[in-house]
Amino acid sequence: MKNKQKKEVLNILKKNKNKILKKWLSSIIDDLRVQDNPELKRELKENSQDFVDLLIKSASSGNFENIDAPEYKPLISFLDNYAEIWKDWGFTLFELASHLSIFKEIWISFLVNELKDKIHLVPEYSVVIAKLLDKLTFMMLSNAIKRREKVIAQQSEHIMEVSTPTIEVWEGIVTVPLVGTLDTPRAQLLMEVLLKHIVDTKSSVAIIDITGVPTIDTRTAQHLIETITAVKLLGAQVILTGVRPEIAQTIVHLGIDLSGLITRSSLAAGLRVAFDYLGLKVVKKDESKEEKI
């Protein structure tokens, strides 16, 4: 399409800007949520105006095809921002996309009105408008989805982090209460976090509590053994606690060799072993006048 024709398409938008805006707004405002909300109505009006202004500005360059070009940057970032605001108002991405589609239809309908004498040009012009607005819509949608995916990725990372807390329960005793299934990425993270914590605190005993681990299979056991070997290499002792009856049965049935490892049924029993290892003793106050622990 020639530049002259592009100008013509754009001029129709420029000339009828206020009419188009009015029509566009009225069709959006039909939405019930907008009708009862004057603040939203006002914001919608401003945003629609900004959108049309930015669109005219971007398209004035004669570029109707490549929205990655620098002249479209302000419009794209406006749309990204717009999508976020709309999300806060409770609209879905689908609704936002359909509003842009309404704008496209209105623009084309004005095209038909204005070009009554050369109606043969309308199909070509309409395609250009449709393509441009579709591209903008897709760009906005894909950006919005990318942003949400990023949030999801951050959250799952966060969940991973909080799922392996290491607690220094006593000077020299680190505890890791494991909750949930111990799969390979978690086992890797557990190893890294635990080892780092041991080095940071110069602890000599690590208690791994598996009360919250529903089942143990050979792979989980392998991960545990690897972690325990690594901890021992650092010069710390490992105590495995929270071995419930079912877990004990599974370990024996699977033939997992955990000999050479201190295991206890409860965290409290494990803590007692750790105190013993460090040469500490817990006594009742009245049994001994001197405060020990």
Binding site: M191, E192, L195, K196, I198, V199, K202, S203, S204, E226, T227, T229, A230, V231, K232, L233, L234, G235, A236, Q237, I262, V273, Y277
Partner: protein, 125 residues
């Protein structure tokens, strides 16, 4: 590389510091040096400070175990001190356990282990 290797006597303990990326030659020198010093000074044991070591391979792990055995034949004990977490992870994943060698979080606690003597060996309990 070899100039970073140092074997010094601290009180009744030998302290050997291993460079970050020991090659075969360094490891051989380390073994010779430790055994020579064991003969020269009457020491209780050896502390190998590997806090600078960034990678552990099976050759190095075996050399450590062998050195520990030799030291034990000469009446001493060996403690590996300051292994980095990343090194510990790879070592464990390679299935190398460093049997018969004591480990300690840092040189200070390694010295303490040697001072306490073997009857309180950390592997027990």
């Amino acid at each position: 590389m070899t100039e970073n290797l140092s074997i010094i006597k601290v009180e009744d303990v030998l302290l050997a510091t291993i460079p970050s990326d020991p090659d075969d030659e360094t490891i051989a020198k380390l073994q010779d040096g430790i055994l020579e010093s064991m003969k020269k000074y009457k020491v209780k044991g050896v502390v190998m400070d590997i806090s600078a070591v960034e990678t552990m391979d099976s050759y190095f792990a075996r050399a450590i175990m062998e050195t520990a055995q030799m030291v034990s034949l000469m009446g001493g004990e060996t403690v590996i001190a300051g292994m980095r977490p990343s090194v510990a992870i790879t070592t464990a994943q390679l299935g190398l356990t460093l049997k018969g060698v004591h480990t300690a979080i840092d040189v200070e606690s390694a010295m303490e282990i040697l001072r306490k003597g073997s009857q309180e060996g950390r592997e027990k309990k």
